[in-house]
Symmetry: C2
Subunit: 342 residues, 2 copies
């Protein structure tokens, strides 16, 4: 069996089998040497995160978007991530739909991301997989994730453009869920826009945007669906430049409606990030987060390798019996590590 | 303004205002001393996590469950967590419903959990808030969370019994989402069971359980909704004893249907955990995870306090320009910390 780093030249030359093997090594957390070698060849692809609740039709949208980029002559890598199914490892329903339409096209590479480990591990593996696709020369990388909350935040941390997909009539407390969108969405898509209730969904999203951007009220009313420039005020907390307001785009991905508008909006966001130097800031912020995570994990591993299992067990027991508080247990663990010579 | 730790005796004596202040201090991450003092008084409450996708009617179910426990003479603390809305801080729709029915009852305490910081911070604050309610003497603590993925995993890490709520007909790719349920669900509830499609939802859940527990097939067919004892095989990965199979319970929370059965199933799970010593294992596992997180965070903070901002910026820049890979950047940061005397 070839070591992952031996496959680096093959991956760089576009060998799909070598790429598939590398992605498997990434999932198994055995690709560090290969990733180090690939790093200098990354940074060319545009990474688009696509997220949303179950039932919004994300998978169909991703397939439609991939086809649109193919028509424009771009190569497309697709990573389908399901953080709610860490143990299944099987293909999602959406993959099968995509596979049928896109299979046989060597300009498209599709991969489902699964992990037997933690959700943090899945986020890390997906980020590294996107880098592998980037180094392999794909122009556009679509990272699709099911679910809300942490998975949306993780995807925003690896993407240049994050698309949040909604759909009409998904339930009575969906409005509460949507409130978190502003933090990560660069673009808002209302898919299944031929369904009843689409105006309610669009209005709810507009209201949410207005809450976040009071000065955008009148502009949103007349210009939604376009990139907007407003007075400086902070939009969100994830490093995005204050001058971008997420446009709301209506699509019917099943019928290929609104897809060209979505591609245009992604292009506009890309131009905005690049022209305003925001891309540079975002990338720095993403690297800072990644390095923080890596330092944290490495230090924890060093501690756990240094302190004996018996000593750790005893500290856990003391917290459980309420003899010591967790805050003091942490000091006890660090002291034990120091005594063991870390 | 009183310091949080001065309020500990008041919290222990059941002073609701002191409890509310402590919870605010917990959200602002300024309650460590109080939490250390409270730790010895925790461990009496039964913590029930309730999670599920938007539209399943979780909030109504939580209200119905709280009322049922009140009828049984138990006091109830409710934490409503919305990890998808870290910046809103407002009450969820469901809170208002609950507030209307439960307000004025001093045996109930309701709190929405919000944070201006990270999702990890929200999970930590919720765990500490549950401890505060525990120390304040509430018998039952209901922790409700919106969403899927990480938030479900986080809730399972602090709860004794985790209830996953589903509902009929929520969308075409919900089956894929459900595949992750086995990992965290102790009980499965199909709410809105008066709706069309309830049998499809129940059958899908049963199939999923059977995939996870092949030997449970025939028993599930005849005994679903009860606690089942089967031959030893591993159910899941989160430390739950292999002898528990999640029952599927149908409810119509709006009409208070199925709630007594749900309370009975929670009781059965509690008895199972306690009798089988699994409770002890779960608590140890939860403490191990918590201590790992705390050690990791503390060590990272120490590193970031030791290495100069200029040195960190330069390392980030080198990763961004692809001069060094992230893996090597981590070594560079740790070396810089060592040179600075950590």
């Amino acid at each position: 069996m070839m070591l992952p780093q031996d496959q680096v030249p093959r991956v760089l030359s576009g060998d799909r089998r070598a790429l598939a093997r590398l992605l498997t090594a990434i999932e198994n957390e055995r690709a560090d040497d290969a990733l180090i070698a690939l790093h200098a060849h990354t940074g060319r692809a545009w990474i688009i995160g696509i997220t949303g609740a179950p039932g919004t039709g994300k998978s169909t949208l991703v397939a439609a978007l991939a086809k649109a980029y193919r028509v424009l002559g771009k190569t497309v890598g697709i990573l389908a991530v399901d953080p709610t199914s860490p143990f299944t490892g099987g293909a999602l329903l959406g993959d099968r739909i995509r596979m049928r339409d896109l299979s046989g096209d060597t300009g498209v590479f599709i991969r489902s991301m699964a992990t037997r480990g933690s959700l943090g591990g899945l986020a890390r593996a997906t980020r590294d997989a996107a880098r592998a696709l980037d180094a392999a020369g794909f122009d556009i990388i679509l990272v699709e994730t099911v679910g809300a909350g942490q998975s949306e935040v993780d995807i925003a941390r690896m993407a240049h453009t994050t698309v949040v997909v909604e759909a009409p009539g998904l339930g009575d407390d969906i409005q509460a869920t949507k409130a978190g969108i502003l933090e990560i969405a660069d673009l808002l898509v209302v898919n299944k826009a031929d369904r009843a209730g689409v105006n309610i969904t669009v209005r709810a999203l507009k209201n949410m945007l207005e809450l976040g951007h009071p000065s955008a009220r009148t502009r949103l009313a007349s210009h939604h669906g376009q990139m907007l420039t407003v007075e400086t005020h902070t939009i969100n907390q994830n490093g995005t430049d204050p001058l971008w307001i997420p446009p709301i785009i209506q699509t019917v991905a099943n019928d290929n409606k609104g897809i060209d508008e979505l591609v245009a909006a992604i292009d506009a966001h890309r131009a905005f990030l690049t022209d305003s130097d925001t891309r540079d800031q975002i990338e720095r912020h993403q690297i800072e987060i990644e390095l923080s995570e890596r330092v944290r994990e490495l230090l924890l591993r060093q501690i756990l390798n240094t302190v004996s299992a018996e000593a750790l067990d005893e500290i856990v027991r003391q917290v459980q019996t309420r003899a010591i508080a967790p805050q003091h247990a942490v000091s006890a663990i660090l002291n034990a590590a120091k005594r063991s010579g870390l």
